[in-house]
Homo-oligomer: 388 residues x 2
């Protein structure tokens, strides 16, 4: 009895428990970077913890390419898995929900509740498909700023994101400088170079060359599963390090003792990739994949400024930048470029690069090492504020 | 007049000129590693220079995944491009055709004249398609040994190959030790690990999930161009270094001055990949891509031995092993594993690793630095032989 009670208490102490996705809608058009005015706009978001009376304890989490608003906890007790960053968000965790009001918003162009290519186009009353306007990271952030306004949050205590999430942090800190005090960027880059664009391009081509894509109008039909699975497999490779793949799979066969001398998957790493590709098809929309990877390729933190350092002169936040040694999608040198520009702009920045065999995905997986680093950064500033 | 004559002489001095592909056919079945007996077998090959009276000046060039027998020269004066390693093979070049009898054979399973999945299956009188037996690197080499027999060459002066070509060199040197005196391995590996298998798997999946693949029976129909182009784009990425991609393309747009805010290719690197993918479809058979990548994944130089060092105890050749710093498909550590095993086996080996930004493709491109290295290795042994 006591043991069971303790276990339950332990859960209560560390888990945000059952959460619900919320929705906010605007009829007022959002003018996108393309010049297109998009309306209506719905954003799906989740919040954890409570906003304090001063409304100054909010922390915004920005998700990556295939993420969504569901960062932590479960939607139902029977959910097999909690949110995508549950190890980081919760009572006593790095983003301590006993202290902070944590918010996460599904990006514009996504497929997890926010307006995107699978949404109904009010003009035609059918899904936008490929007629959805191209959205950019600045557009995604502008939409989230609307949500902050609606929630009555003028200035975030912090904004944090890895990968594409880090790009959104950069955009918010540079172009909405009064909205954030602390910015945490993990495993990210100020802009894509040729290699990152190339891998995204291959994924998009795989989708658009799939006959089931039907020019984007596949809703109500079979989706372009083959193309999306291929795109996901290509993307997934860029999230993993050679070392991790080799350690986990090597040349192991999935089932047999000997090579089959037949077509089809037989190495364990092949089955793993098949699983990654096929399961992604069940949870992600192929058109959203096109739009979000395009936003990644378009993003350039220094857009509109003479240089990245010039851009950072407009920022007001203090920054924590983190990279991982085996991340070959956004390698440490991409973070170091950001750090150098921040320093050149006279901004306050802490940089950590973690030795890790986990590749790009380390930002999602290495919560044990990230927790004290994030916690200390969020806290140290409060202290320095107290001293000021 | 004189200048024109000089130019012509210069060409005569350095170019093998017009060459013809030759064909050899056997009705005697070849027993493959799978146990299947394959018959008939045709090998397409080219030769350059002349076999000497002692029949001991032959150098066999082993080609890589998408290569063929056409190493050097032109099939017709109007050919836009010479063979794939023309800078290395010719009078006065690294493989000096004034001195050596250079041979190159299209691999079994290929699509450039040798028996492969697009060949007619004598049992059904239609192309094999996916019913072609799985072939391995040892099978490819066994077929080439047949050709050496037919050409009356007992022992090659040297065998040289990069990438998959290097695997064939390993196989020949270990399992046909009396057939070769010198082995040159460039940008290769003794076996694929999980990352290399994974990228090949994605390519194969892209082909086999293309509805036009039709279970392999697309001959006489439209080929699975989308799948093959995607496979090629994925493969091509592994041949290039991030540095080279960034230097050559960066974030440059192909035509426009500004982002299009539309679907489709617009970055220069996207157009480049589209070109690579689409042009490959015109010159390569999708089924051959499946078979040859499978052979790459299956290959393990130590198969049948307790270790790679044990395998090398059976070799008799002297070795030159070369790797390139920015090759992330078969990184220097893969070559160093080979070198360490050769040394453990007491074999004579020279190792060079070249600092190069060209990635895996450096073995095809960096002929200026490779030429003296290869030439010296081929010559030094003659001298040491003279001393013996």
């Amino acid at each position: 009895m006591l043991a069971a009670l303790e276990r339950e208490l332990a859960t209560l102490n560390t888990d945000v428990g059952i959460v619900q996705t919320q929705y906010a809608t605007w009829d007022e058009p959002l003018r996108l970077k393309s010049g297109v005015e998009l309306t209506p706009i719905t954003l799906a978001y989740e919040t954890y913890g409570a906003l304090n009376a001063c409304r100054d304890n909010a922390v915004l989490v920005m998700h990556a390419l295939s993420g969504d608003a569901h960062v932590a906890g479960r939607h139902a007790p029977t959910d097999r898995k909690p949110g995508w960053w549950d190890a980081i968000v919760g009572p006593g965790r790095a983003l301590d929900t006993a202290r902070y009001f944590v918010i996460c918003v599904n990006v514009l162009g996504g497929c997890s509740g926010s307006t995107g290519p699978s949404s109904l186009d009010p003009e035609s009353d059918r899904p936008y498909g490929a007629r959805f306007p191209i959205v950019t990271v600045p557009d995604m952030v502008a939409a989230q700023v609307r949500l902050l306004d609606r929630l009555g949050i003028q200035t975030l205590h912090a904004v944090i994101g890895g990968s594409m999430g880090g790009m959104q942090v950069l955009e918010l800190a540079i172009n909405h400088p009064d909205r954030v005090r602390l910015g945490i960027l993990l495993a990210t880059t100020a802009q894509h170079g040729a290699q990152q664009i190339a891998f995204n391009h291959i994924g998009r081509q795989a989708i658009m060359r799939d006959p089931l894509w039907r020019g984007g109008d596949y809703y109500g039909h079979e989706p372009p599963a083959a193309g999306l699975a291929t795109a996901r497999m290509v993307g997934h490779m860029t999230y993993l390090s050679e070392e991790r793949l080799q350690w986990r799979f090597g040349r192991e066969l999935q089932k047999a003792e000997e090579l089959s001398f037949a077509h089809g998957s037989e190495f364990a790493v092949e089955s793993y990739l098949d699983y990654q590709g096929n399961s992604f098809v069940g949870r992600f929309d192929a058109n959203s994949y096109l739009y979000i990877t395009k936003a990644l390729d378009y993003f350039n933190a220094s857009d509109g400024y003479a240089s990245l350092a010039e851009a950072f002169k407009h920022a007001q936040a203090r920054f924590l930048v983190g990279s991982f040694s085996s991340d070959w999608l956004y390698p440490p040198h991409a973070s170091e470029e950001i750090v150098a520009a921040l320093q050149a702009a006279g901004r306050d920045v802490e940089y950590i690069t973690l030795e890790s065999p986990l590749g790009h995905d380390a930002f999602l997986l290495d919560h044990e090492r990230l927790t004290p680093i994030i916690r200390e950064f969020l806290t140290s500033t409060e202290e320095s504020g107290a001293r000021g």
